[in-house]
């Protein structure tokens, strides 16, 4: 298999990676760049555990080839962390409201929810449910996740505000 050198922009930094043309974005992020917050869950684009933001839009990294990410900005959950290791306000909400149990779905949930709040400002609870439909959780029953996203939407600045930037 001929490897190709790819230039990937991930979490605000450029990375040169050798990858096969058939390598998924998920495998390159997880195994080559060591981003353990991007997780394999199903490989079908059904569960949402491998969600990343591609130029701000949530996508399933298991359904993309790494080469398709060249020239785009990729943000994973770790990319939300503030200087000094402080958490993003949406992570604080997940923490405070108990929206994580086993934690495996959490990165995908947080990124999808963040995108929703950026687009909609103050989504209704039903709009949050609809936006998270592609991020499965088997532990929480969703109630506390919805609570956390509602709370974040209440404290976040309106769309376009500075605080919404990663």
């Amino acid at each position: 298999m001929t490897m190709r050198n790819l230039l990937l922009a991930v979490n605000g930094r450029d990375h040169h990676v050798w990858a096969a043309p058939s390598a998924s974005l998920l495998d390159v992020l997880h195994d080559e760049l060591g981003l353990a917050d991007v997780r394999y869950g199903c490989g079908e684009g059904v569960c949402g555990t491998c969600t990343v933001l591609l130029d701000g839009d949530p996508v399933s990294a298991c359904l993309m080839l790494a080469v398709q990410a060249v020239g785009h900005q990729v943000v994973t959950l770790q990319g939300l962390m503030r200087p000094g290791g402080a958490m993003h306000p949406i992570q604080e909400c997940f923490l405070r409201l108990g929206a994580s149990q086993c934690g495996f779905c959490t990165p995908g949930m947080v990124l999808t929810a963040l995108d929703l709040v950026r687009r909609c400002g103050r989504p209704t609870r039903d709009e949050i449910r609809y936006a998270l439909v592609g991020n499965l959780c088997r532990c929480t029953g969703y109630t506390k996740i919805l609570d956390a996203v509602e709370e974040y939407a209440a404290v976040a600045e309106p769309p376009g505000g500075e605080s919404a930037a990663p």
């Binding site: 298999m1 096969a20 058939s22 997880h30 195994d31 060591g34 353990a36 917050d37 997780r39 394999y40 869950g41 199903c42 490989g43 079908e44 059904v46 569960c47 555990t49 994973t76 959950l77 770790q78 962390m81 958490m87 992570q91 997940f94 923490l95 405070r96 108990g98 929206a99 994580s100 149990q101 086993c102 934690g103 495996f104 779905c105 959490t106 990165p107 947080v110 609870r125 039903d126 949050i128 449910r129 609809y130 998270l132 439909v133 592609g134 991020n135 499965l136 959780c137 088997r138 532990c139 929480t140 029953g141 969703y142 109630t143 506390k144 996740i145 919805l146 609570d147």
Partner: protein, 788 residues
């Protein structure tokens, strides 16, 4: 939209005097989880690491004519291809009930001569990359001669049925008898009969089975996603190594729900590591997990229940058949729990319960949250509803008349030692729903359902369960906890920290806990059977109290007070404050660091290992009498549904759950268990079905397996009773499994209330409900006897 009750997050339960227990702090694992920095089993990489892969049978029942691995071995990048002949000891004998009653049937690690289910491991591959391992798997050539198989329990029990194993198709039969059930049913004013059927269910934890193994200092070391590090013994047996040469480390799991209670990747990973001498990572892909991981047992349950005209139950006869699939796994214990709990939270003076696990050529069934005690709730609660209907009583009235109480005898002859708050849980669950539901328009029917349960926590008493914990107060006043506990994601480790903090006064952020290592931690047993808060919680409580009792005299001497007058809290030891002391401006106190230093000077050891033992007892499988489970958790769920009479679609409008948890160590996590269990149960009740036809799964895709998503169900309202009567630490009861149990019965009850016809088969899909509606229900409204 329903309102969620928020837990008290800042203070302990009023009146309990606890400072840390009863609060919901964010623990170490919680922070890592929301940062995405937790390292699960697959998130581990070592130099030279190979990718492992299992080659699986593609037919359900066959003789293996030949296996040819030459092409796979020749592929560039392949490090090893192993078959049965390469396994030092190719037999796993799991006597899940401890050998009380089951057949002794061995499961091969790799199939030899025969395959008994589709997906059975046949060969193993280790290669330089996952892609090469996958290519090599396709090059393993297996010639099968297909044999007739059996794919449902009734066929398996018929005369002349093909045998899954030479020893026979009935793995185990449990019988529990009390009183004279024949006489009781003959004399009853009403006898109701029902047959209930349940399906194969997938655990669908979001983290698939995974692990990394390597050899270090001659020790085969596996870091895997598992509920049970004690499998080190089985792995050593397979490899033919002393147990001291195998170490299992459990990573924090991305969910388990019982599916990581049996071994998953461990034996295969261990064999590949041992044969290659190199690190190996094995991750089952989702489709492999769907195909070949263990499932929840499909049950067929036949109930006959007799009652007097006032609703008092006089006798109940129960027959249960569970589809064990092709190998024993934990089926003997699952079907035992089903038998022991078959009568639910009700007084049944005359009972006859027969419960069998039956081999088929389906994928093996084993542990799954609820563990046999769950399927039967659908049976016994449907019977209660039918008695109410036949006698013209309300569903709550019939239940209230028959609820067990502390001191009552259950069919195994045991007496209940702790309080039974099931009636209170029923009143509270129904109260949360509010006004009865109304249909939203023509063609819709609304109904309300209720379902109560009794669920054990802790292992069967005859296993003489024990757990240990090791606490160390360090020189700077911080603390280490070491425990072999594994953490499913429900906060098992965090709860231990809260208990230790409560007793010793170490601030939570000064505690580090090391768990899940068979070499470095004292044994705690696996995380299953809703046993860890009960077992390891008690072990930590005991260790913390013993350590406090050892160091308290040193503090007492330094402060000039009797040891009983000391309070350990907030990192200090200080005198207990009496009301008259409140005005005092300064009271003498010591920091825990000062106390640790004083202990060091006096030669008082500040590290303590303690073992907590559950009560011992025995069960006689011939008489069906004896000791079964240590104690039970009781609860009730209530739901409002709307049924579309054209499509059969069931919409859950409101859902409420209430359980007596004894004491909520962490209220937020307790709520999470209730909400998560209820929604998992809603999937079981309404959508989830891992359909298998003649041994072949009907879909290999996760997209076809309908686990609940964020839009499917309403918020789950929860209420918690704290009776303080549990046998766990500080009066707690276990709550991991119980909240999944009530759901199917609750929804069936609500559907019956809406349409007047009772569902008896799970899941209650639109097709099945529409078929029920094609009966008498279309002609007139149901909706009678609203409970509450």
């Amino acid at each position: 939209m329903t309102v969620v009750e928020q837990p008290s997050l800042t203070r302990g339960e009023p009146g309990t005097g606890y400072r840390v227990v009863g609060t919901s702090p964010a623990h170490h694992d919680f922070v890592d989880k929301v940062k995405g920095s937790l390292r699960y089993a697959a998130d581990w990489r070592l130099p030279g690491m190979l990718a492992g892969r299992v080659v699986r049978s593609q037919v359900p029942c066959a003789r293996i004519v030949s296996i040819d691995v030459t092409r796979a071995r020749a592929l560039a990048g392949v490090a090893a291809v192993l078959i049965a002949a390469d396994v030092p000891s190719n037999r796993i004998v799991e006597l899940a009930s401890g050998g009380l009653a089951e057949l002794e049937v061995a499961m091969p690690v790799l199939a030899t001569g025969r395959v008994r289910y589709l997906g059975e491991p046949v060969a193993l591959i280790a290669a330089a990359s996952q892609q090469i391992a996958d290519e090599a798997a396709d090059l393993v050539s297996v010639e099968y001669e297909e044999l007739p198989g059996v794919f449902d329990v009734e066929t398996a029990l018929a005369d002349g049925a093909p045998r899954v194993h030479e020893a026979g198709n009935t793995l185990v039969t449990w019988e529990i008898h009390s009183g004279e059930v024949g006489t009781a049913l003959a004399a009853a004013d009403v006898v109701v009969e029902g047959e209930y059927r349940t399906q194969h269910v997938e655990h669908a934890y979001l983290e698939p089975e995974a692990g990394v193994g390597w050899v270090e200092n001659g020790v085969v070391t596996l870091r895997v996603s598992t509920q049970v590090i004690d499998h080190a013994a089985a792995i050593a047996g397979i490899l033919g190594l002393p147990l001291s040469k195998v170490r299992v480390i459990a990573a924090y799991m991305g969910g388990g729900f019982g599916g990581k209670e049996d071994m998953t990747v461990e034996p295969y990973l261990a064999l590949l590591v041992w044969h290659t001498g190199r690190p190996v990572r094995m991750i089952w892909d989702r489709q492999e997990s769907l195909l070949a991981s263990t499932k929840r047992h499909p049950f067929i349950m036949r109930y006959r229940t007799g009652a007097r005209s006032d609703g008092t139950i006089t006798g109940q006869q129960v027959e249960i058949l569970g589809d064990a699939g092709a190998y024993p796994c934990l089926s003997p214990r699952v079907l035992f729990a089903a038998a022991a709990l078959a009568c639910g939270p009700y007084r049944v003076p005359n009972a006859r319960i027969v419960s069998s696990a039956v081999f088929t050529n389906n994928v093996p069934a084993s542990a799954f949250r609820g563990f046999g005690a769950m399927q039967v709730v659908f049976g016994y609660e449907s019977q209660m509803d039918m008695i109410a209907e036949r006698l013209g009583l309300s569903r709550t009235e019939v239940r209230e008349r028959n609820f067990l109480a502390k001191g009552d005898e259950i069919p195994t002859g045991e007496r209940l030692a702790t309080s039974v708050e099931v009636g209170e849980s029923m009143r509270r669950a129904l109260a949360m729903l509010g006004e009865p539901p109304q249909p939203s328009g023509p063609g819709k029917r609304a109904g309300r359902g209720v379902g109560c349960n009794r669920h054990p926590y802790g292992r069967a008493i005859w296993f003489r369960d024990r757990a240990s914990a090791w606490l160390t107060l360090q020189a700077d006043g911080t603390m280490l906890i070491r425990s072999g506990i594994t953490d499913l994601g429900a906060g098992q480790a965090a709860s231990l920290c809260q208990i230790a903090a409560e007793i010793l006064g170490v601030p939570l952020d000064g505690i580090s806990i090391y768990i899940g290592d068979s070499a470095l931690n004292p044994p705690a047993g696996g995380t299953f059977a809703t046993r860890q808060l009960y077992m390891s919680g008690n072990a930590v409580l005991k260790a913390a109290r013993e350590l406090r009792d050892r160091i308290a005299p040193v503090a007492a001497e330094m402060l000039g007070l009797p040891p009983g007058e000391l309070v350990f809290a907030d990192g200090t030891v200080s005198p207990r404050r009496r009301p008259e002391d409140v005005a005092a401006t300064v009271s003498p106190s010591l920091t825990l660091a000062e106390l640790a230093a004083a202990c060091e000077r006096r030669g008082v050891h500040t590290s303590h290992l303690s073992v907590w033992r559950a009560e011992a007892g025995s069960f006689d499988p011939r008489t069906g009498q004896g000791d079964t489970f240590p104690d039970y958790t009781y609860g009730t769920h209530a739901a409002d549904v709307e049924v579309d009479v054209e499509t059969g679609q069931v919409t859950v409008l409101r859902y409420a759950a209430c359980h007596d948890v004894g004491r909520a160590i962490n209220p937020m996590r307790v709520q999470g268990q209730l909400q998560g269990g209820a929604v998992q149960g809603l999937g079981y009740a309404l959508t989830e079905d891992l359909a298998i036809e003649d041994g072949y799964p009907q879909s290999g895709l996760f997209a076809s397996y309908l686990t609940p998503n964020s839009c499917d169900f309403p918020d789950v309202q929860v209420d918690v009773i704290e009776s303080g009567e549990g046998k766990g630490p500080l009066g707690a009861r276990g709550i991991g499994e119980p909240p999944i149990g009530n759901v199917a019965a609750t929804i069936a009850s609500a559907i019956h209330d809406a349409i007047g016809v009772r569902p008896t088969q799970l899941p209650m899909t639109p097709e099945r409900v529409a078929a029920l509606l094609d009966g008498p229900a279309r002609r007139g409204p149901g909706g009678r006897d609203h409970p509450g």
